[in-house]
């Protein structure tokens, strides 16, 4: 009763990073609320996964293990989450804002008539006073998300309905094992009790998952290009420079939309959130939606021919010039001066 649940998503047979991020955050929220954190893992051949969930802060791990659940499909996963929540009555339930969480979350919230906030970038515990009703709610989940195309930040609450549900964007929360070794309780979900045969009317007939070679989240240095880079060919310079200094190449939404870079390189609210020690923004003007995804970088260098570009307001160094002039110079002087 009244605990915090994280519905964990699997990737290649292990718990996905987004779910570990949620468990890390969920641990802190559960401590503030004075409740337990429980993880729900649905799939097949789950034995051993509980250990990882404990390491990241779960107190209880529910395993719903069944051969029919090997691949995610909406209906049986919904039945399991809905029935388990009816039984356990959690106060908070978190999912990743991935195609998994954004497919499952709304279905579950509709069945339970509980509120769901999509794509949160921060979660806090706080109180709320409804002045009209003269009522104060304590220990609510404050669900903070960009809205209106990223131009405003809204704080959403679900005062009267439980579980308070939220999906959270990948990469905005840190993923950290608990300092002390932990273990907890493993509980088996009786799948046949929760799932109905008619839940299996959708079948996955083919899956092609491409292992992305791009690791923006883990990169210490990111060279990121925007629309101002001008072309896909000019992006080649960024790749050369990145290879030289051991960096990863990122891109703004405008550059991705223009076809200069692949979608998995996109940084910003509709992309990955990064916090490298150095972020070099090339030809990026710095729209809100981009800055929100990189503002925590330790150092920002902007290369832009417009001194008034918004990116320069959060930059440590602003180089006034064209990307195609500046990057070759950076390459040259890096080569000359490193060892």
């Amino acid at each position: 009763m009244d605990n915090l649940f994280v519905i964990c998503e699997l990737e290649n047979g292990t718990i996905a990073d987004i779910s570990l991020e949620l468990l890390t955050k969920g641990r802190k929220l559960a401590d503030q609320l004075g409740c337990k954190q429980e993880a729900l893992i649905i799939g097949h051949k789950l034995k051993g996964l509980e250990k990882e969930a404990f390491d990241y802060g779960a107190d209880v791990v529910w395993l719903a293990d069944d051969a029919r659940l090997e691949h995610y499909t909406t209906l049986p996963y919904t039945s399991i989450a809905v029935e388990l929540f009816r039984q356990e009555k959690p106060q908070v339930a978190l999912l990743g804002a991935t195609s998994y969480g954004r497919d499952l979350g709304p279905r579950v919230s509709s069945a339970l008539s509980s509120g769901l906030t999509a794509d949160c970038t921060a979660l806090e515990i706080g109180e709320h006073t409804d002045k009209r009703a003269g009522k104060t709610y304590k220990n609510l989940l404050l669900q903070i998300r960009p809205a209106f195309g990223g131009n405003i930040i809204a704080t959403i609450i679900n005062p009267e309905h439980k579980p308070q549900m939220a999906t959270v964007r990948e990469g905005v929360m840190k993923m950290e094992k608990c300092k002390e070794p932990r273990s907890g309780e493993v509980k088996k979900v009786d799948v046949d009790k929760f799932v109905r045969p008619e839940d299996f009317v959708v079948n996955v007939i083919e899956r092609h998952m491409e292992e992305s070679g791009v690791n923006l989240k883990g990169a210490p240095v990111i060279i990121s290009g925007g629309y101002g880079v001008g072309s896909k060919e000019n992006f080649e310079m960024l790749y050369q420079f990145a290879e030289l200094i051991g960096a990863e190449v990122g891109a703004s939404r405008a550059a991705v939309d223009a076809g200069f870079a692949e979608h998995d390189r996109q940084i910003g609210q509709t992309g990955v959130t990064v916090r490298p020690k150095l972020y070099i923004a090339c030809g990026i003007s710095g729209q809100v939606q981009h800055i929100a995804g990189m503002q925590e970088s330790a150092m920002v260098i902007s290369v832009n021919n417009d001194q008034e570009a918004p990116i320069n307001k959060i930059a440590d160094y602003a180089i006034l010039g064209n990307v195609e002039d500046v990057i070759p110079k950076m390459i040259k002087y890096y080569k000359e001066n490193s060892k």
Binding site: S99, D119, G149, V202, H208, V288, G321, M330, N337
Partner: protein, 291 residues
Amino acid sequence: MKNFKIIVLAKQVPDTRNVGKDAMKEDGTVNRAVLPAIFNPEDLNALEQALRIKDKYPGSTVTLLTMGPPRAAEIIREGLYRGADNGYLLTDRAFAGSDTLATSYALSRAIMKIGDFDFILAGRQAIDGDTAQVGPQVAEKLGVPQVTYAEEIVDIKKNKAVVRRRLEKGVETVESVFPLLITVTGTAPACRPRNAKLIMKYKRATTISERQNVSEDYIFMYDDRPFLNLPEWNVGDIEAEPERLGLSGSPTKVKKVENVVFQAKEAKVLEADNQSIEWLMKELISNHTLG
């Protein structure tokens, strides 16, 4: 040959993709009045998928359903110009303030009133809220399966549809029985343009509220040509429970809205000359930021 009944859920949204400075008020809220109202982009992708089913299976019907203020009738006309057969506007002050749950309840009631369907198609998400919740919540309320993030309806077999989904890291093809709700992503083919003949046919299609302003001379048309009459439904028409609509039917509340403010820094401005860039690279190397 089989034909299908298709309902397309569409929303009129402010164009949030190009929010200029004048669109933000002093208090950090958005001045919707200055933003153009458009057909939600992914709903157009959904409409295209519906029209392709109709192309392939003549005799199929495409019905638009939208909920919004009276002016949202504009997007029903937009849909008719592109090949939809008819459309319903759901409008009532009681819907104001609805979150996704209350919205999906109202839409599901309207769909029940429309009647039988084989497919409901909708955009994956709308650009004003970006939640992607209404589609799945409507499916749950109607008790039908859902396929989200669809890029193409590949095939329709006897009693199953084959749909290709575009996920973050790849593609997945699923097979589902129907009736079925499908949400379509922006990577799906763009919607066909308006058709000149259909514009001629439907340009005077209006809802009863819009017709208040139509001159007497034209009123006779709506008796002769019933297709010019765009049905408009309110809470009573869809037999919805009022407490499940609007603010009272919405579990989520907006506690606070803020403008996005970033911690401004004083950037050191460098010219793009050799000397400055060499200095910067040396600096980055010596403080171990690089190398």
